[in-house]
């Protein structure tokens, strides 16, 4: 075979590979665009007020501007009648469980990461822990739901059934009212989501800590700082932007989870916002799941509208994460 034809072959191969890459990239983007377009089309009925839209864009009546969005979709509780249904309870519920999940998972996860990365000896035991955490990150979230059901909702049956609690701390109307077992309450949901995101928080925090050059640790230790002072004053501050980025992404994962909470058996019709840590709640993804499973077309439209809201929330989370990565992350050496 002559040199020229080999060269031609190489160029052709190169072009073909490039074309394949371009095709798969554009296919992904196209599918995503189609998805968003179809959801917007389906969901627009409950998100936008067509009369107000017409008034503003066709007739220039700016006074109608605030009426374009159907706020009642955001402020109504769920309902049997699609026109009256809203996602208020689900949004508030999502916020609460995510807050609880963050308060539990972040200190625990970041603490674990600091221990494993900065203090733990490198031996077989820590290698085993490391291996396990990596595997746990790949466990389907519904499995954590089953764990949550046993450990938090029912507490292994230790304190009677969840409907008939044997152990509770009154008063009922204080936000910290707690009863055992946790039943389908906020604590059970938050703890279950904590299980889901904990491996992710640990892994991303460890990677953030590992990215801090060891020359900084050496410098700190060499002027007489203890390991703890080095970790808390040098390594952790240097890693915080990346840790936060990972934490926010983990929270957006928690925000989008329905499966583990489905296993806990959380209700979908909630007529009030949670009063205390044990109160019932529902979340956006679960509300969507419920609406999408109904036969009537209007409920499918409601589901699409709720998806749009969920997507906007998640995009905001990711936006903050990207912003932190770009702005806060300083050079370290």
């Amino acid at each position: 075979m002559s040199g020229i034809s080999l060269r031609t072959k190489r160029i052709v191969k190169n072009r073909a590979f490039l074309a394949l890459c371009l095709f798969s990239t554009s296919a992904t983007i196209l599918i995503l665009a189609l998805l968003i377009a179809s959801i917007m089309a389906q969901g627009s009925h409950f998100l936008f007020n067509s009369d107000a839209l017409g008034a503003v864009f066709a007739h220039g009546e700016l006074s109608q501007l605030t009426k374009i969005i159907r706020w009642d979709f955001l402020t109504n509780f769920a309902s049997r009648f699609p026109e009256k249904a809203g996602i208020y309870a689900a949004m508030i519920g999502s916020m609460w469980v995510c807050a609880i999940c963050a308060l539990l998972a972040l200190p625990l996860g970041i603490g674990t990461a600091i221990y494993l990365e900065e203090f733990a000896p490198k031996n077989r035991w820590t290698a085993l822990i490391d291996f396990n955490i990596r595997n746990l990150a790949g466990v389907p979230s519904i499995v954590y739901g089953i764990l949550g059901l046993t450990a938090f909702t029912r507490m292994f049956g230790l304190f009677g059934s969840d409907k008939n609690s044997a152990l509770s701390f009154d008063p009922d109307d204080a936000w910290w009212h707690i009863q055992f077992p946790f039943g389908q309450g906020l604590l059970a949901g938050g703890l279950t989501l904590m299980l889901v995101v904990l491996p992710i928080v640990i892994i991303s925090s460890r990677e953030a800590l590992r990215a801090v050059p060891s020359s900084l640790r050496q410098a700190s230790l060499a002027i007489g700082a203890t390991k703890w002072q080095t970790a808390s004053k040098i390594t952790l501050p240097a890693a915080i932007p990346s840790i936060l980025t990972g934490a926010i992404l983990a929270m957006s994962r928690a925000m989008g989870e329905a499966a583990p909470l489905l296993v806990l058996g959380i209700p979908v019709f909630i007529a009030n916002t949670p009063d205390n840590l044990n109160d019932n709640f529902t979340v956006l993804p679960f509300q969507i799941f419920n609406w999408a499973g109904r036969p009537q077309e209007s409920f499918h439209q409601l589901a699409a509208s709720a998806i749009v809201v969920l997507l906007i929330v998640l995009i905001c989370f990711n936006g903050v994460a990207v912003y932190l990565r770009q702005k806060l992350r300083k050079p370290l050496a």
Partner: protein, 277 residues
């Protein structure tokens, strides 16, 4: 390459030439090392090192790479505690204290023995915070006292004039030579007796090297300095005493002038005349 030279592959005679001449330059010894051995796992990196390091002098450690200079230095402030399989045996005394004693507090040791690394490694903080970090670890300061200490340390490291107007800017904005002098100032700020420097100029350009060398000569009046260098001219320029290491052994030690003009040992002569290494 030392390994390819047949006359050097034989281990150095164990006793006779390795006993260094006790330093005639200074009477007071800060660091006393006797029959010191160090290992990484089963690998012995240092063999029977006996060396006295006099106070307020610059002692340079020279020798081909891998001969154990850094290992020796990192035992003096016990940075080798961080290496899981590193251990040492023998005598290493800082004044009256036994450095190798497990009960001897490394925090206290490292406050007394500062270290400067090969690559400048300022913290990703302001210039001020870089200097203030060490002192704050050991003692509570009033603001004005700390300000004074920061200024004094930066002046001692001959960098005050260059940074006094931007103390609160990031240290990472400084040039390589300035960063290295900042690191020296950071080490000085906790009030050490000894400064260890592991090839402090090897990551710097010639001008920065000159500034750091000038500083080392200056600091000799206050501190006991041990500097590892690859550069023979540098050893000749900055140090009062020189110790030549080869394959984990101390081959020869003595006043720098004598080492370069009239080495007693054939290996030292070959090395300082650039025949290998």
């Amino acid at each position: 390459m030392p390994d390819t030279q047949p006359n050097l592959t034989k281990p150095a005679p164990a006793s006779a030439p390795t006993t260094p001449t006790s330093s005639p330059v200074s009477e007071h010894v800060t660091l006393r090392v006797k029959d010191f051995n160090a290992w990484y796992g089963d690998y012995q990196a240092l063999h029977n090192i006996t060396l006295n390091i006099p106070s307020q002098r610059v002692t340079s450690l020279i020798g081909p790479s891998g001969c154990g200079k850094s290992t020796f230095l990192r035992w003096i402030n016990r940075m080798n505690d961080l290496v899981a399989n590193a251990r040492a045996q023998g005598v290493m005394q800082l004044d009256k204290d036994d450095v190798l004693d497990r009960a001897f507090d490394v925090v206290e040791l490292r406050r007394r023995v500062g270290m400067v690394f090969q690559k400048p490694n300022p913290f990703p903080k302001s210039i001020y915070e870089n200097i203030a970090f060490g002192p704050r670890l050991h003692k509570h300061f009033h603001r004005s006292d700390l300000d004074a200490l920061v200024e004094q340390s930066l002046r001692a490291a001959a960098i005050w004039d260059e940074v006094k107007d931007r103390l609160h800017n990031s240290a990472l904005g400084l040039s390589g030579g300035q960063q290295q002098r900042l690191c020296i100032a950071r080490a000085i700020a906790v009030g050490p007796e000894v400064l260890l420097m592991d090839e402090p100029c090897s990551a710097l350009d010639p001008r920065s090297t000159a500034s750091v060398e000038a500083l080392i000569r200056e600091l000799r009046q206050t501190f006991t300095i041990v500097v590892v260098t690859h550069n023979m001219q540098q050893a000749a320029r900055v140090s009062d005493l020189t110790a030549f290491f080869f394959e984990g052994k101390l081959i020869e030690a003595g006043p720098t002038d004598g080492m370069f003009t009239n080495p007693k040992n054939k290996q030292t002569e070959d090395y300082v005349t650039g025949r290998f290494g």
